[in-house]
Subunit: 223 residues, 2 copies
């Protein structure tokens, strides 16, 4: 489920957009100001940001600039009444991804969100299939040669991540950061132990393997 942050000081519009997005399979959170958005983002990770420009306090430009400086990747979409070229140019220069002029057609907003999420390469696939092996993120199941392989939560997360980006090398610390609590000071050996468990459970899999990248970490390689 993708999380979308909606920053818009007009309460009605904010609610309208959020409701519409929620009805269409997203998890939308509304904020009425940039400051509120900062707080919200602090406690939660979002996949996309929709922001107004003209808002009391910090405006959309400053907000986008700050967000971009912290995160190069997250798609930012301006939704504003300002239809002048200078504003558009300023927005795009700050690194926004799209610019919608109010009144916004919600259906079109949905299309643009879809395109941006796809382009941002956020993994939307709930199902990963590699030869005779497949994983389903909703059901949290892994099936090899028609037989289900029981995986614990951590095992599932790790394998799912590796297979989402086959060939890409992940460092231990990157994996730890993603799947372990920040303050959990688990030793770096922990990841190794999980890789070992996965390899053991996947020893009959002939479609891919978990490869050690000496000095760095691990990657999944399709055979």
């Amino acid at each position: 489920m993708f999380k979308i942050l909606v920053v818009e000081d007009d309460r009605d519009l904010n609610r309208t957009v959020c409701t519409y997005l929620n009805k269409n399979g997203f998890e939308a959170v509304g904020c009425l100001s940039a400051n509120e958005a900062y707080d919200t983002m602090y406690g939660d990770l979002f996949d996309l940001i929709i922001s107004d420009i003209m808002m009391p306090g910090i405006d959309g430009f400053a907000f986008a600039e700050t967000v971009r400086s912290l995160d190069q990747e997250i798609p930012i979409l301006f939704m504003t009444a300002k239809d002048d070229f200078a504003s558009k140019q300023r927005g795009y220069r700050l690194g926004i991804d799209d610019y919608l002029v109010k009144p916004v057609e919600l259906e079109e907003l949905l299309l643009k969100i879809g395109a941006l999420l796809r382009r941002a390469r956020i993994n939307s696939a709930k199902q990963i299939t590699v030869g005779h092996f497949s994983m389903n993120a909703d059901e949290r199941t892994a099936v090899l040669n028609g037989e289900e392989i029981p995986l614990t939560v951590r095992e599932f997360n790790l394998l799912y991540k590796l297979l989402s980006y086959p060939k890409k090398t992940f460092t231990r610390s990157a994996l730890m950061e993603e799947f372990w609590d920040v303050d959990s000071n688990s030793g770096l050996r922990t990841v190794d132990v999980y890789m070992r468990k996965l390899r053991e459970k996947l020893q009959d899999c002939e479609d891919f393997e978990i490869v050690t990248v000496h000095g760095l970490g691990y990657k999944a390689v399709l055979k």
Copy 2:
């Protein structure tokens, strides 16, 4: 220099767009039909595609679908007179990235191109290719003539650095500073040993070589 393919059957508009893009730092190539575009793409690599929808012969939808099936990454931008929601939806479903309704403001087109190229570049694998040799920083792999060459972390880092700035000479101390711990008191011979190892592993490479700059250091030189 980014290459942009413009597929538009209206000769005047095609020329206008291409000329404008060329004036603004791009290398634009115009095609009057999808078939012509296929031929053009066959012989050249493009960074972005701008396409009309209504064209004689193969239309923009079919064209986009074919392109997407061959290349998941290249940004595709529709530039069309069709302003109905169904067409937009169909386009986005095929995997296009943006949809501009004619008449198109060229300045705005430029902004959108910039945003799409930036986004595509963020996601593009950090890859270096020199003739029949290539390195991929995400995968940490080096491939020569279709065969993977195993490189250790240090070897990879050094070679990647040299090839990132071909012809530029790197002193031993500069390389040491970048890839070794500050407090690592490795002898100066160390770099030499790595260069030798790289040369050995790359002895079949006919596209570049590691050259000693006597009294200074090393550099990669394309043949």
